[in-house]
Each structure stands twice: as structure tokens, then as C-alpha cells.
């Protein structure tokens, strides 16, 4: 019986595919690679790799300890490389406008009740609940793909990260 090896790329090892144009503009496909993007990003920078109207997918290079953040809606963090600890906190005071979209920085150490924590490895997805505060910690560089909405800290650099020719 055949044995199979499942290929998961990482910061240390990735091999990009690409768009082979026949009669089109490669920019229409907004083609990038999560690990390529994270390799060139600063720790905790939120770089958009996909956008559908107001919704975005952000690649985050996880390295060290992030700031506290909060969003008025659920966000989902998928660890695609490394190990990331997620700390969750129920804030004593609301930290984000409930009518806003995307996550915002929470200044300093917010007061509130610790909710618990999640230690997530490759392939693990964590819920970042609406209205709660969260921060990430990674001892070694890792990569998070964040399902969220365009916010004040979303970074756009399509021309730098995408195939253009």
C-alpha cells in the first residue's frame, strides 16, 4: 500500500507556485504566499493577503509577545507555523466600539478577569471572541492567519507581496 507525505510549508521551508498567464493579467489573481509574506514582516504586523470587500485575511508573524487587542466581532486565528499561546481577558470596561469593524490596540495592561489561555500549534484554530481582549505569545517565530475585518492596523502592500508579471 502506498504511503503518502502531506506537504505543509513553513517559514523555514516554502516553495511558491504561481500564475501562468495565457490571456490575462496576473495581478487579477492577487497571488502571494503566507510564509513569504511573514518572512518579510515585522513581528505582529497584520499584513492583508486576501480581501473581499470589508473582510480580510491577515498574515501575522508571531514572534515575542504582542500587544493586547480587541474586536467587536469574533475573529479566528489559525496557526500555520510554530506554536502560539493565546491569552484571553474579559475586560472590566468595553475596549472597542461595538459598531466598529476590525481589531484595535488596547493600551497597556487592561483591567479585567482572565478567561484562560490556549496553546496552539500548526493547524490549530483559536476563537478570539467578540468584545474580549487577547494577546499572543510565541517563543520562536511562527505564523498566524487571522480571519477578520479591515481595521485601522491592517497593512496593505499588494504590489510588494503579489505576483505582478
Amino acid at each position: 500500500m502506498a504511503t503518502y507525505t502531506t506537504a505543509f510549508a513553513s517559514l523555514a521551508r516554502y516553495d511558491k507556485g504561481g500564475v501562468e498567464v495565457i490571456n490575462d493579467d496576473p495581478k487579477n489573481y492577487v497571488f502571494s504566499n503566507m510564509f513569504d509574506v511573514a518572512s518579510a514582516a515585522r513581528p505582529w504586523e497584520k499584513v492583508a493577503v486576501a480581501k473581499n470587500m470589508q473582510y480580510v485575511l491577515e498574515v501575522i508573524r508571531a514572534e515575542g509577545t504582542s500587544e493586547w487587542r480587541a474586536a467587536p466581532h469574533d475573529e479566528l486565528a489559525l496557526v500555520v507555523d510554530g506554536e502560539v499561546v493565546v491569552e484571553l481577558l474579559d475586560p472590566a470596561e468595553p475596549q472597542v466600539d461595538p459598531g466598529a469593524q476590525g481589531s484595535v490596540t488596547v493600551a497597556g495592561e487592561p483591567a479585567g478577569t482572565p478567561m484562560g489561555r490556549i496553546t496552539a500549534g500548526r493547524g490549530h484554530m483559536a476563537l478570539l471572541p467578540a468584545g474580549r481582549c487577547y494577546r499572543f505569545r510565541a517563543e520562536q517565530p511562527g505564523v498566524i492567519l487571522l480571519q477578520t475585518i479591515d481595521g485601522p492596523d491592517t497593512v496593505y502592500r499588494w504590489a510588494d507581496i503579489c505576483q505582478t508579471a
Binding site: Y4, G17, E20, V21, V30, L76, G123, H124
Partner: protein, 327 residues
Amino acid sequence: MTTTDIPVEIGERNEHGYSTFRLGGFSFGRDEHFAHIEWPTGRHVMSVEAFLKALMRDVAWNFFYGIVNFDSVIGTMNHYGNVDLFAGRYNDAYRKAELDHQENFDADQIMATFKAMLADWTNDGFDPFAAPQETGSAFGEKRGDNLAAVTRTRVTAQRMVGVPGDEPLRSDETGHPINRMFADVAQDEPKVEPEAGYEGEVAAFNLYAYLSRSDVTWNPSVVSVCKESLYCPTTEEFILPIIHGNDRVEWFVQLSDEIHWKVEDRETGAPRANVVMKSGDVAAMPADIRHQGYSPKRAMLLVWENGSPALPDLIAEGKAPKTAVEF
């Protein structure tokens, strides 16, 4: 009214044991090898295996977003409440020869007909969702049915798989063994340490392990939700049984392995690009193309959709963006 309450035009069983079906001016019949489709200006024949695999997706996805081409001739166009059934409408040669034909049906009516056809034409042992090496044959004279396979419920998480009260995890006990091509995928679960009173909010799960236990191919299911942003990962092996014609931008994130996409013009079928996606790659499918994927080894693909209820109106008005990003 459910689709089971809607009358379906069913003809006599033929010499092979299969019923024939009629929907407006279209008729559908099958023999041991082929599906035969006829309409007022023409006729078409398809491998019945390919037809049933495409029909299964159209039914399970509720006509999906945009166009589900069964092949280069037959398919459906979703208008969200009503559906076009067409022949040659998105085929340049049929259009120029004026042999194309389409009719619009109430979505419940076409769904009832398709479900009845799928139930009648799928034999015992054949699973239209399965990879070729994991199912029996679609061919031959009628022998029983496989209602369990063709009436699967699509996973649709409300927040995230594994959150208390939401879609459950998969395991051997739930009837989801690890697929033969994902035997090496780690099955560890994240360490979740909630404080008392927060058990329902501190939640995480192993998405890759969950996908390694998928018993279907080319069937996006909702595993996480951020308002109208839907993560619809799926496992892919062999060829996508339909050619999906987009009516909105759709995104792919290649989680594992490799898939090759053939991209054609949505209206004419003229080739536009080939897109090779390897683990970690991210790409958008524009709203004016159609695409079909080829996956040499079972692969994990994250399909990311925008399920906004405002989009059908924007699409109908021609206001939905054709490309994801201008840069």
C-alpha cells in the same frame, strides 16, 4: 414547503431500471454508462459518473455561488431564489450557432427534480462525493441506492467547529477515520485552559486533523465565521467535478500539498490562465472566470467566501467587483 412536497415529472423506468425525468423543456435519462440530456434545440451526452458527481455538488451546495458547469455544455446559474438550467449558454460555439438554450425555474422546483434524479440514478456502493479510489462504480444497470451518501448534511458552523453547541469534531467514533492520504497528519489538539465560567468562549480545535478525517472531496464546508466571512475548507483529490463559474470574487488558501487550476473566461470558455498553488499560497479567483482544479494528492484547501446577503443584488445590478484588489 420542502422540496419533497413538490411534484417532480418522472417517466417510466427504462430497460436498465432507471427513471427518466422532465423539467420544463429539458429531459434527462440514463443508461448503463451515460446521462442523456435533451432540450428543444439539441441533445447532449455525458459519462454518468461525471454527471452524478456534478449533480451531487449542485444539490449539496444549493446551486452554489454563480454557475455550476457540469461540463462545457450543461449547467446551472444561481439567481438566489430562482435558477437557470442551461445548455450551451456559456459555450462560444453553441452561442454562435444559436444552439444554446436555457430556462429559469423556481429554485425549489429544480432542486426537487435534481434530488429525485440523484436518488434514483445513484447505485448502491457509488458515492459521488468520494475520491475515485474510495468508491464503487457508478455504471451498470440499476442496483439499489445510496441515499446515505447523497443526502449528507453539509457542515455549517455558526461560530467555529468545536465551540460548545456548534458543529462537533470528527473522530473514529463519529464515523470519520483518518484518510489514507493524511495518515501522517498530526492529531494533537490545542491545549485549552479556560477559567471557570468561560468554558464556552475559550475554544480551539485542530483544523488540519479535522480535515484529515473528511470523508468527501471537493465539498467546502463552513468551519468558522466572522460575520459574513466564511471559512469553507475542503479536501481535494483528483478533479473538481464541476467547472465553477464565479459571480463574485472567491479566495483560495492552499493549506497543504498542491492543486493546479485551469482558468477560463466565464462566458466563452476561452483559456485565461493556469494557477499552480502550493502549500502557503494565496490566490483570488476573479468574478468573471470559471475554474476547475486538479489535485494529484489529497490536499487541504481553504476556500474563503463572502456570504453577504447584499451581494446577490450587487451582482444582479453589475456592481459587484470583478477583481478582489486593484493595485
